[in-house]
Amino acid sequence: MLNIKNLHVTVDDKEILKGLDLTVNAGEVHAIMGPNGSGKSTLANVLAGREGYTITKGSIDYEGKDLSGMAPEVRAREGIFLAFQYPVEIPGVNNIYMLKAAVNAKREYIGEPPLDAVEFLNLVKEKVKLVKLKEELLNRSVNEGFSGGEKKRNEIFQMAVLEPRLAILDETDSGLDIDALKIVAEGVNSLRNRDRAIILVTHYQRLLNYIVPDQVHVLFDGRIIKSGHRELALKLEEKGYDWVKSEAAA
């Protein structure tokens, strides 16, 4: 589904990703771990198409299409979803209408008729239970006045409604207490299926107690320096990153 080869990315002429390789197949969950500043959010933003990131070398292939130069909204319609590390508050823009516009923009793109108000509301009612988000939040401005945990749950709620093919969750677990973490994890687990791939960006292995990944990668200084299975995350928690770094340097 996703095939990243030798990806080099600069921000403000500073190289952040320095030859990153990653392959994710449909149905898989990949965890990307790494210390702060290693380039995890940069990777997430590049996949979602944020401006200001220049690909200087390498390629990103998604479902046989070259992602570079594709507008963020087109990526979203193609099935890419980014759950933001810091979801922005948008005063004056209604949460639920934004989501309806999003759903219908996607449907139009794939040639399906738009959902009417009732159909959309039924969809919302079904999905909102998944993340136990208070319904009254839905009719507020996007993320405005939401607690940190509510913002993260709102991201997963949107993911549930939009049913992406490739979801990138950027530190959705940070700042969550254990109950909220479980709710988010259950939500994500219920969205796992054969056709969907999920990239979990995190720097705590505790999320992986609840969402068991197929692969774990260590991102350091703009490169994936080690890949493994679930045990790798446990070992990272126990021993930190230094041993991976020296292993990679050797």
Binding site: A48, G49, R50, E51, A71, P72, E73, R75, A76, R77, F81, L82, F84, P87, V88, I90, P91, G92, V93, N94, Y97, M98, L99, K100, A101, A102, A105, K106, Y109, N139, R140, S141, V142, Q158, L162
Partner: protein, 442 residues
């Protein structure tokens, strides 16, 4: 510099005086044109006009509109009417009152609501006492309006009278009568405890050049309340200068909403004097410019007595090569202890060529006061834009949604639902993807 223009208005006035015969206000007009002659048109060398060059408007010899002109205005009237609003309605076409288009029935007893030309016959002493003489230092356009006083509205509300049904003043301009100047004069007098809502709605045709020079004087006695809307939707080739002068007695309240969408060169002045204890004023404003529009909002609030309060919140959205000006002056005089004044102005620039000059001015001569002000100039928030686009929303739609959300902060302050909805529709209608973003209003 603009002597020719000044002389043009002087001879226009003499033509008018001759036409009117020796009417009641001949002396008032004559005195005013004299003062205007010595003032002249303002120049950008004057601090108050630094950013607004009125020369384009002095280059054209605007004449008084032909009287008795009847244009095909039904469609325009529908544009101006506010759906769902039950109101008293006075309609002016090219500056002249149209009795047949107006309806004012069902007003409470003793309320006076009539066009000024009639009032000048019937209530001359009242009008003369209210208008009086402008100060020598008053705005020259205000003086020019007095010189050409001819028509407009007189609304006088007696003690304890609360008018529930808003008064809608519609000024339709610019059909067929090319190059005219209209100087509507509106006088609103509220006795003690009286209350009324007035909507001034200026609507014009895009394809003609004309000049609206309007003045509204509001006099509020003790504990009276005025809610005032000014909807400026003049034609895109027009010039609009408006002065709104407010005198407030003790515990009186003014809620002003000024929405400027039309015109090529626009200047709105509001001058409020809070003359006695407990008087309050709240000014809300929204200006949106595209193309080469120039929209200037000047407000001045004088706190002259203790425990007076003012609130001001203006927002501007400027696209293309449009230019906005905001100047908000608050003067706290030495007796005005416990004044509470807060002001803010925020601007959104949608293009690299759009410009805004914003200047809050605080002059404080009392020591026990609470005053604050803040201004911002910015562009659309990139994080918000990316968030919406990452949710499959088109870039252009996303820009429209965020622009509207910015403007909406002013519109949501409007309590009167038909006015609010009309403005939502008008403002959204100016943005790309109007149909899509209509849904987004919170």
């Amino acid at each position: 510099m603009s002597d020719t223009a000044v002389n043009h208005y002087v001879s226009e006035l003499h033509r008018l005086q001759k036409e009117m015969g020796c009417d009641n206000l001949a002396r008032l007009r004559e005195a005013a044109i004299g003062r205007f002659q010595s003032q002249g048109f303002p120049s950008t060398r004057q601090e108050n006009w630094k950013y607004t060059d009125v020369r384009p408007l002095t280059r054209m010899p605007f004449s008084l509109p032909e009287t008795g002109m009847v244009a095909d205005h039904e469609a325009w009237l529908n544009e101006a009417r506010l759906p769902g609003l039950d109101c008293h309605e006075l309609v002016f076409v090219n500056g002249r009152f149209s009795a047949e288009l107006s309806r004012t029935d069902g007003l409470p007893e003793y309320v006076v609501l009539k066009n000024l030309a009639v009032a000048l016959e019937e209530d001359r002493t009242l009008i003369e006492s209210l208008i009086g003489e402008d100060n020598a230092d008053s705005n020259p356009f205000n003086t020019l309006n007095t010189a050409f006083i001819l028509d407009g509205v007189l609304l006088s509300v007696p003690t304890d009278c609360i008018i529930d049904i808003p008064v809608h003043l519609i000024y339709l301009s610019g059909f067929s009568d090319e190059g005219f100047a209209a100087h509507p004069r509106n006088i609103i007098a509220l006795e003690a405890n009286a209350s009324v809502t007035v909507i001034e709605n200026y609507v014009g045709a895009d394809n003609s050049r004309y000049f609206t020079n309007t003045v509204t004087d509001a006099f509020l006695q003790e504990n009276s309340s005025l809610t005032h809307y000014k909807l400026q939707q003049e034609g895109r080739g027009s010039y609009h200068i408006g002065n709104f002068n407010i005198l407030q007695a003790a515990s009186s309240r003014v809620y002003s909403h000024s929405i400027s969408l039309g015109g090529s060169l626009v200047r709105n002045d509001i001058h409020a004097e809070l003359k006695a204890e407990g008087a309050e004023i709240a000014l809300q404003g929204l200006y949106m410019g595209t193309g080469k529009q120039h929209i200037d909002n000047h407000t001045r609030i004088d706190h002259l007595s203790p425990s007076t309060q003012s609130r001001e919140n203006y927002r501007g959205v400027l696209n293309d090569q449009a230019r906005g000006v905001f100047n908000g002056k608050v003067v706290v005089h030495k007796d005005a202890q416990k004044t509470d004044a807060a002001q803010s102005n925020a601007n959104l620039l949608l293009s690299d060529f759009a410009e805004v000059d914003t200047k809050p001015e605080l002059e404080i001569y009392a020591d026990d006061v609470k005053c604050s002000h803040g201004t911002t100039v910015g562009q659309l928030d990139q994080d918000m834009l990316f968030y919406l686009r990452s949710r499959a929303i088109d870039e252009e739609t996303a820009r429209s949604i965020l622009t509207y959300a910015f403007a909406e902060e002013i519109i949501t302050q409007i309590d009167l639902q038909p006015v609010r909805e009309y403005l939502e529709y008008r403002v959204i209608g100016r943005l790309p993807d109007a149909d899509l973003i209509k849904e987004f209003t919170v």
